[in-house]
Every structure is written in structure tokens, then in C-alpha cells.
Symmetry: C3
């Protein structure tokens, strides 16, 4: 083999390597792009709880899950709709409401203290009994659970449609509560790893 | 340094680069393969709602969430099981049913119009009151919600086991409703970013 | 062009290629690292069901979903809290309990056989009717569903807070049941593709 042939051979090799390199660079760029896109669609470490029910035991469970998750560095959003809104009431107002709204205000639980159990009503006896047990066993009451959830940064959103339907005013709800519609709720849930309907 | 040495040195460098290149190509290929696999396991922008309950307020909430999500370009599947099937009834049939099936037909709500509230029954008074409020506030009735959900492309699947158990015939359900079992429901939920049991 | 120039030109090309190669290697390494991180955050093929309700129809649905998912190679964990714990009772004990715990034991369903329906109570008539239908249609009873779920490897965790609150002893629950708190439940749900609250 002559010297020129060797040189030619090496040149060919080099050109091939250069071409292979360019091809690989294109593939890497494409993979980086796709990967970034995928990452933007990844679920974040969030939890969304739609709180529909207004019974004391269900609300308690919702708040225990929310507070527990927040303690595990999960961003928790609770969306309160229909009877769930009872949990957020701090105050009951009758002034300036229409007759139908006054009627609803009268009928709905006027805050965490007047919610019922989903089982064992027994004219309220079951609930008092459970509360007595909870006190004895040092388990927090519903009101304490709500305060604690707010303290650890659980975000609470009241459903505007429900507020409108039932004539609930923003002033009647706890301070720090935000307001939003179904779109807010679904937007949160789309990013969340955990979604519950309670 | 002699000329031959330089040449030898460069050859070595080139060989090293070539080897490094091959190694990198293998890693890139492996990453591309793993990435594709990961992408196929990614959750799609889907929502699956298992509708177990047959109460008017829960059904309304299910349909508001479903329609809202569909408006946000989310593919929504509602899987109706047990009492949830009431929402899909368009017609009540007694002909050709066994006695036990006739009895169940009589006991179950005969469509969205005859569903109850989960709270405030008051012999149906609570529901009439809520419907009156909804009308006044221009909020859609349950029947309108169902029609709208169908219009925006929400997929509705009736649970076959429930239909079999309760003797519900396909003709009794709304047009466009599909039929499926637990596997269909779970398969959908596995791909969905949002899952709710209502 | 002189021979030396060609050689110089090639050397430059080579050096550029070498530099480009190093740059690409860094990007590939970074992508591999990020990808691994992403994969560790990916949801696994898991399902977590929080079983809060103790009604026979809801429990049945929970077990049908759990068993169906397990059959599709999904790792299923059921977390039983509040009234849901009724499903796991194999035995009722009164010995060694305080008066308040005895009272709760008496009030709670003493196992899958004594659960109620969420609708159609009719003094228990509705449930008997449904069980009669299920038998006729060869659909498994709740007890059979539970056994089957255990057979296919569904993991069952009893909520310790509920057990403590209601004075339920480990011996009263089915063999193979594990015990855990909210953190266990949330940890499971964070990894699961499907989460339900029933």
C-alpha cells in the first residue's frame, strides 16, 4: 500500500466519522427537545381533593389526608363544592339575603361544629359519642384539623357556582379561602399525582 | 519527534475518538429506546369518572366536572355503575322482565328527573327547592347537563355487570351510551391524569 | 496547496471534531442523568383505593375494581379507614374493651355479612333482595369478593387511627391485613396511576 492510499483511506474514515457525528448530534438535539416536552407534561408532587360532602367524618378524613400530605411536602389544594362548603363557614349571615337564601342558610350546617356523621346519626348522639372518643384519644377535632391544614399551607378554594347557588357570601367563609370554578379545580387536578373526590 | 511518530500519534488519537464515538452511539440508542418506552407509559390528557352514586347533586357535580374538563380539551370517560346508571335512563320498560327485575325497575330512579338529593331530602322538598334556585340562577338542570356532556364528546359507558344484575336493557338507556366491564373502566383510568369515584 | 497545509487543515478539523465530541458527551451525560431522575418520579402501575365507606354496595364495587385491576397486573393497595374497616372484620370481640369501645363494637357492622346498602335500605329488605339477585346471576357475594382479592394479591391496610379511635383490635381483623397511617396511604397514592376514594 502506498503512502497516498493510506492517507486517502484515513481521509475517508475521518469523513465517515464526521458524518456520523453530525447525525448523532441531530438525534441528541431531537431527544433533548422531546425530553423537555415530556418533562413539562409530568405530574408535579401535587394533591387535589374535591370536597363535595359535608359530613363530619368525611370532612375529617379529607383534612387528615390533606394535612398528612402537606407534611410530606406535597402541595395540597382542596376544592370545596356543594355540602363541602360547610367546612369553611366561620359565620352565618342572614342580613341582605333573599328569602330562599335565608332558608338555605338555615338548612345548611353553619360551620364545622354543626356537621353530621355519614353514619350513626342517632339524633346527633353518634357524633357526640365520636367527639367524646376523639377527645379522650387526643385526636384533633374537625375545627382543629381545619386550622392545622391552613397552618401547613393547604390551599382552600370555595366553588363559586355553589356560593352563587346557595347564596353564600365571601365574608361568611374563613379568611384565606380563595374562590374559583370547575376550570380551576380541573386545572389543579391535571397536574396532581393524587386526586380524590370526597 | 520524527514524522512517523506524529502520524502514529494521530492515528492513535483517531482510533480513540472512533471508539468513543461508538460507545456514545450505543448510549444514545439505549436512551432513545428507554425514552420511547417511558413515553408510552406516560399518562394522556384523559379523565375517568366512575359514577357510582345516583343522587341528583352528585350526578350534577360529576357532569359539571366532565363537561368542564372536555371544554379544556381533556378526553373524558364516565363509567356508570350501580345507582349511577339512573342518570342514563331515558325510558322505563317493564315488558319482558322477570318479577324481580320489574321490582328493581320500580325502585330505581327512572331517569335524571327522578333522582334524589344526597342531603336535604325533606320528602323531595329539598330537591324541588334546589331546582327552583338553579332555574332562577340560570344553572343547568341535570338533564341539560347530560345533553351538554354528550354534545361536547364525553364518552359514557354503562357497567354491564350492573345492567345484568338489575335487569336493565340497552334500549332503556340514552342513545350513544357504550357498554363495558370493570376492565374497560380500569384500562381507561390507567391512562388518565384525573380519576374520580363519585 | 502544500502538503503541510493539508496536514494542518486536517489537524484543525480533527481538533474541532474532538471538541464537538466532548461537548456532545457532556450533553448526553446530562440527559441520561435527568432521564433517570424523571424515571424515578414516574408513576408505577399501581392503584390505591381509600375505602372510607362501609356500605355493602360501595365495598363490593371497591373489591370488584381492586380484583379487576390485580388481574390486569396492577399492584393494588386498599387502605381501610372509618366505616370501611367493617369489611375486614372476621370476628367481634367484647372482652377486655372499655365500655365506650364495647358500644362502638355493637354499633358497627360486625363484618361483611352485616353491612348495609347505601340506598334501598327498606329495613334490610333491599340488601336481601340484591343478594338474592346476585346469587341468581352468579355474581360473587361480598365475602367471596374479599377472599378473591386476597387470593390475587391485593394488599389491605387497616388505618391505625381508626382502629385506635374505635377500639378495634388487630385480632378482630382478617389474617394478612397490614396496619398503617395516613402517611402510608399517601405514600402509596403518590406512586399510583389510579387513586380512588370510595
Amino acid at each position: 500500500m502506498r503512502k497516498e492510499d493510506i492517507s486517502l483511506d484515513e481521509k475517508k474514515k475521518f469523513t465517515r466519522l464526521e458524518a456520523g457525528f453530525k447525525d448523532m448530534e441531530t438525534r441528541l438535539k431531537e431527544l433533548e427537545r422531546e425530553f423537555q416536552q415530556t418533562q413539562s407534561q409530568m405530574l408535579t408532587n401535587d394533591m387535589t381533593i374535591v370536597v363535595f360532602s359535608g359530613e363530619m367524618d368525611k370532612l375529617m378524613t379529607a383534612f387528615v389526608l390533606a394535612t398528612g400530605a402537606a407534611a410530606m411536602e406535597i402541595n395540597v389544594t382542596m376544592f370545596f363544592t356543594f355540602w363541602g362548603l360547610s367546612a369553611l363557614k366561620k359565620d352565618v349571615q342572614y342580613d341582605g339575603k333573599k328569602f330562599s337564601e335565608k332558608m338555605l342558610t338555615l338548612m345548611m350546617p353553619s360551620g364545622p361544629g354543626s356537621t353530621k356523621l355519614s353514619n350513626f346519626h342517632m339524633l346527633g348522639g353518634g357524633k357526640k359519642f365520636l367527639e367524646y372518643l376523639m377527645k379522650k384519644k387526643n385526636i384533633q377535632s374537625l375545627s382543629q384539623c381545619i386550622t392545622m391544614a391552613q397552618d401547613v399551607g393547604v390551599k382552600m378554594i370555595a366553588c363559586q357556582m355553589t356560593m352563587d347557588l346557595m347564596g353564600i357570601k365571601p365574608e361568611e367563609l374563613l379568611d384565606g379561602v380563595e374562590f374559583g370554578g370547575a376550570a380551576t379545580c380541573i386545572g389543579n387536578a391535571t397536574r396532581s399525582k393524587i386526586n380524590f373526590f370526597i
